[in-house]
């Protein structure tokens, strides 16, 4: 199963997402319908897209996301438990069996921040995890963190701390620290 003139993967992605001009899309579809090789490539992409969606719905990934994505999760019917924490604050938190995800709203003064990192400290000898260059909303002053729900549901009571680090040309500065006192649901 080969193709003398295969469609490049970026074009397949653009086609899948509806980014191509109409004429280019029509030409590409003609090729796809006559080419087992390229349609197999597209099937691989469709499987990847579907797998990513399932990974989020099944809580298999940890995410730092912008506000519109949390809205998309709600619209998809996911049950979200949400906590809002100010800088220096702490919160008692949990995840129940019927929760699809826990969203932590970390509040901080973010105006003027160019790049933001999140450091997660789980304690108990586990190494700190640094998430570099995360999405944030400077206008609302929020960073939205979604730990992997599948992982969180296996956890006994524990404490996790998160620090927000602004990274700029002048170096790094901590702009917030948050404490989560987790208890099993």
């Amino acid at each position: 199963m080969t193709c003398a003139n295969p469609i490049d993967f970026d074009s397949l992605v653009a086609y899948w997402l509806g980014e191509l001009p109409e004429a280019r899309e029509a030409t590409l579809e003609e090729h796809l319908f006559g080419c087992a090789h390229c349609s197999r490539e597209l099937e691989g992409l469709a499987a990847l897209a579907s797998g990513v969606r399932a990974a989020v719905q099944q809580g298999r990934v940890s995410l730092v996301v912008p506000g519109p994505f949390v809205q998309a999760l709600r619209e998809a019917g996911l049950h979200l438990r949400e906590y809002e924490v100010d800088s220096g604050g702490s919160v008692n938190c949990t995840i129940r069996a019927d929760d699809d995800a826990v969203v932590s709203h970390l509040r901080a003064p973010l105006s003027g921040v160019q790049r933001l990192d999140v450091v997660q400290m789980r304690g108990g000898g586990e190494p700190d995890v640094r998430l570099a260059d995360v999405p944030f909303d400077a206008q609302t002053g929020e960073v939205l963190v979604i730990p992997s729900p599948a992982w969180l549901k296996t956890m006994p009571a524990f404490t996790m701390r998160m620090r927000l680090i602004a990274v700029g040309e002048a170096g790094e500065s901590e702009i917030g620290e948050y404490t989560f006192l987790h208890a099993p649901g």
């Binding site: 993967f9 970026d10 992605v13 086609y15 899948w16 997402l17 509806g18 980014e19 579809e29 003609e30 796809l32 319908f33 006559g34 087992a36 349609s39 197999r40 490539e41 597209l42 099937e43 691989g44 469709a46 499987a47 990847l48 897209a49 579907s50 797998g51 990513v52 969606r53 399932a54 990974a55 989020v56 099944q58 298999r60 990934v61 940890s62 995410l63 730092v64 996301v65 912008p66 506000g67 519109p68 994505f69 998309a72 999760l73 998809a76 998430l131 570099a132 260059d133 995360v134 999405p135 909303d137």
Partner: protein
Amino acid sequence: MGQASCLDALDDGALARRVAEAGHAPDSPAEAELYRRLAPRVRLYGLRHLRDRQAAADLVQQVLLMTLERLRAGKVREPEKIASFVLGSCRMSVLEMRRGTRRREALLETWGDMAETFEAPEPLMLDPDRLAGCLDALSERERSVVVLTFFADKQADEVGAALAISGGNVRVIRHRALARLRGCMGANGSGSGIER
């Protein structure tokens, strides 16, 4: 050479010609092989344009059963161009489905007995544990772009607006992230991370 491998050697057009020449004394193996080959392409077209798995599955049945019926009846003028015929039928059917003039009940009413004769291959599935590990291995920025893109099939400009970066920047990050993901999964549709 067995019948299956004999059919394997035929291209789509030759296979369609064979179905057409058999007329109403159906060449069942040839029809089944043509259905098996074209079903994934029609399903992908349906998913791309309808964004709904059940609707895409309905489209497969509707288009391919109608195609086989027309081939049998000698109503496909150029069986060698069967791919173009099927694509045209997909376009028409999707328009009808969007208008709501086609319903699953009508589909079953028309093709009920014939629908049970043919099987489409199962869609490709990824190993979910492996994919979760591969997503985890991406940088935070790459993971954000991939998840925002594919959770609801969003274009680069929409993802860029949500992340406060340009659409062009999203395309660059998306390209890099997908290359890494496919490498991690053993992609191109044939790697060990992908199975039917």
